[in-house]
Structures are given as structure tokens and as C-alpha cells.
Amino acid sequence: MIIAENLTKKFDDTLALNNLNCKINEGCIYGLVGANGAGKSTFLRLLAGVYKPDSGTITVDGESTYENTAVKAQMVYVPDELYFVAGANMKQMAALYASAYPNFDYGRLNELAEAFGLSLKKPINTFSKGMKRQAATVLALAAKPRILFFDETFDGLDPIVRNTVKKIICADVVDRKSTTIITTHSLRELEDTCDQLGLMYNGGIVFESDISDVKTALSKVQIAFSSEVSRESIEAVLGAESIRSYTNKGSVSNLIVSGDKKEVVQKLNSLSPILLDILPLSLEEFFVYEMNSLGYNFDDVFAKELAENGK
């Protein structure tokens, strides 16, 4: 289990992580979302033991990661800016990984390299950008670590490769209870692959949850009445705290409501609406409203970013 407690990291004058708290269970696929500069890469690097925390702790099964070779041997970090030893080919990189990671599986390496059409002998710096990503991913997967970090790796992969990788990660979860952390800008990515979700904002994790819970937590309601029905009466039926948002145009009202869908429908029906439409929220919509309810002004670039990438 990965636990971060009040994790803080500063670079010169910039506060990258600000008292970050987070819990990542074993055997999950955790999606970390956040705007550029929110601190995702910094967090991953602290996890990977590359940086030392200024204060707070980051531990894997209770052991701090910095300069801890035993812990590092269980983690492979695939960074956003890929690096390969100068002039090395996949075979040589594999040798490097194999010497560092005890579970390295050459069989898997060969299988995947063949499946993706990657040459083991050609120097990796002759690969295209996408192929480099694939190479890094293959090496990481072949290392069969307990914990894998993919920092914006999938954003550039083609769907077939992505699908294969996803299957392997899923199989590892079942077979070895491995943990994978993926950072991404794309909410689609998140929905497709992850079961846990963390939202980073301004150096902290502001929201953490099971993905299915996210989808079932809020609902979008469109409701119309034959006569004017005030907000208060709706609030009276549902309870004021469960109404996240309320807009009204004439006789049609749009609400974002939390709570069990069936109960909500029941309660609203007691008001005898002529129109009642209830839908689960999309992930983007969820974020915007959840953020607002937490007090963050989400009318900013990030929301737009999320919305765009989600399409």
C-alpha cells in the first residue's frame, strides 16, 4: 500500500506539492488527473524515490522510498520524458533492467516486442516517438514490478497497443496484485482503464474515489412541472445538501443531485412533474460540479482541458 502523508516538496520558490495526502491500495489501477503544473510528475518522482520530500512522508508498505533500493526494485517508473541509455537497443536496455529488477521476464519482453513490431537490435534512438513510448512500456511491463508508474505514457499510443497494454496490466493485477498508477489528461483513458481516481490540484489531491462511485454519486435531472414549483419545494423533498446545482428556465429546471437514483426519482415523482429525465453524469461534468462544491473555482483552463480531452 502506498501512503502519502502531508507530503511537501519545494523547488527554489515554487511549492510543487503542498501537504499532499493520498492512499493507493495494492492491486488497483489508479488514475491521477490534474492540470499541467498541478504536481503529478513531482508526486510520481517522489514515489519513485528520485526526490526527497521536504516534509511529510511517502511510503510503500511503510517504507520510505527515497534512496531505498529494496523498495525501488519493486517499482518501475516510465516518465513523460523518456530516456534511454545513449545508443542502446532494447536488448541492452533489457539487460540493464534485468540486472536491476529481479522479476524481469525475457519471455514477455520478446512477446511484446514482437507483437508491437519493435526491433530488439536497432538502437532505440532511431525509433519514432510513438515507438519509443512503446519500447519504454514494453521494458517496464517485462520487468514485472509490483508497482508501475506511467506518466502520460498512453496519451500517445495507438489504440491496439493501448488495448494490449491494458490487458497485460489487468492480468498482472489479478495474478500478482500489482499496482499501476497512470497520470493522464484524458478522462476517457481514466474511464477505460482505471478503477481508482485521484484529482490533483495545486499540489494536493483534492478528490479521491472509486470510479464507479463517481459515476453513481451524482445524477443530472431535467424536470418540468405544469405549474411553477419553487426550488424550496424541491429542496424540501430531496434535502438541500443533495442539490449540487440548480438552474431554472421557465418551467424547466436542471438539477445536479447526489444520492441514489431510484430514491431521487421516487422523491421527485411525489411532486408530480410532467417531465422527469434523470441521467448519470459524465466524468467531466462530475469534476466540474464536485470541484465547485469543494470550493474551487473550476471555471478555468483545466475544466476546458478536461472537457476537450474527454471528447
Binding site: 490487458k167 489487468c170 492480468a171 489479478v174 472509486d210 453524469l281
Partner: protein, 132 residues
């Protein structure tokens, strides 16, 4: 066996649950027949195993499936009954709704016609499932 729509607004685990229920009710998954393992299903439909596990846990909790150590999960013999019972508990709400319709002045024939259409649709669906 399952058809998962990642784009759908319905959570994936809910889709698995409802599709499993449909398969059981239509007889495509008879009593004591095996449910695909989390691993194989995960590889098959490219779904996060934890999500699948969540669905299975829910079904197990409700008694619709049971697991046998080392052998896997299977459809409970009384799965159909349990599902029926759950659905039947909703009938109460039908009664309430009918009452509301009546009070509102909706004609009984319209309500009955709607019920008829629902059943007709189910028959069509079940025919579809039989072909799987």
C-alpha cells in the same frame, strides 16, 4: 458474453451486473453454470479486474452467484428466484404509480398498454439473448 459500452453513462460494473442478471433470467446462464473468472473476463472485454470484482461481489452479496474455493464462481440455483423477488418488491412502486396516474386522470387503458409494450419488448430481447 458481455457487451460493455465504456461511453455509456452507466457505470461499467452496473452494466456487468445488469447483463448478468438478464442472462440468468433468460436462461442463458442456468443454475450452477460457471461465471467467467475475473481474469479471463478482464482479458476478454478489456475491463479493469477490480471493476469486474466489484460487480461479482455485488452479485455474490445478493446471493445470485456463489464461489467455490479453487473452482471459481457459479450461478446460484435460486438466482432466478432471488431476482424475481427483488423485482417483485418493485411492484409496490407500480401500485403507487398507478395510484398517481389514476389521481392525475390518466386512462387505465393507456397504462395497461404501456405495460403490454414493456412485456413485448422483453420477449424480443429474450429472443435475442437466446441466440448468444
Amino acid at each position: 458474453m458481455f457487451f460493455i459500452d465504456n461511453q455509456s453513462r452507466q457505470a461499467v460494473y452496473e452494466q456487468i451486473i445488469s447483463q448478468t442478471e438478464k442472462l440468468i433470467l433468460t436462461g442463458s446462464l442456468p443454475a450452477d453454470s460457471p461465471i467467467p473468472s475475473v481474469r479471463s473476463l478482464s482479458l476478454d472485454i478489456s475491463v479493469n479486474p477490480n471493476t469486474i470484482q466489484k460487480a461479482y461481489s455485488d452479485l455474490d452479496r445478493r446471493g445470485i452467484i456463489y464461489s467455490s474455493a479453487g473452482k471459481g464462481s457459479f450461478v446460484s440455483p435460486d438466482a432466478v428466484q432471488i431476482l424475481l423477488k427483488e423485482k417483485i418488491s418493485n411492484i409496490k412502486s407500480i401500485e403507487t404509480m398507478a395510484n398517481e396516474f389514476a389521481v392525475a386522470g390518466v386512462k387505465k387503458e393507456d397504462v395497461v398498454a404501456a405495460v403490454e409494450r414493456g412485456y413485448e419488448r422483453a420477449r424480443e430481447q429474450m429472443k435475442g439473448f437466446e441466440n448468444i
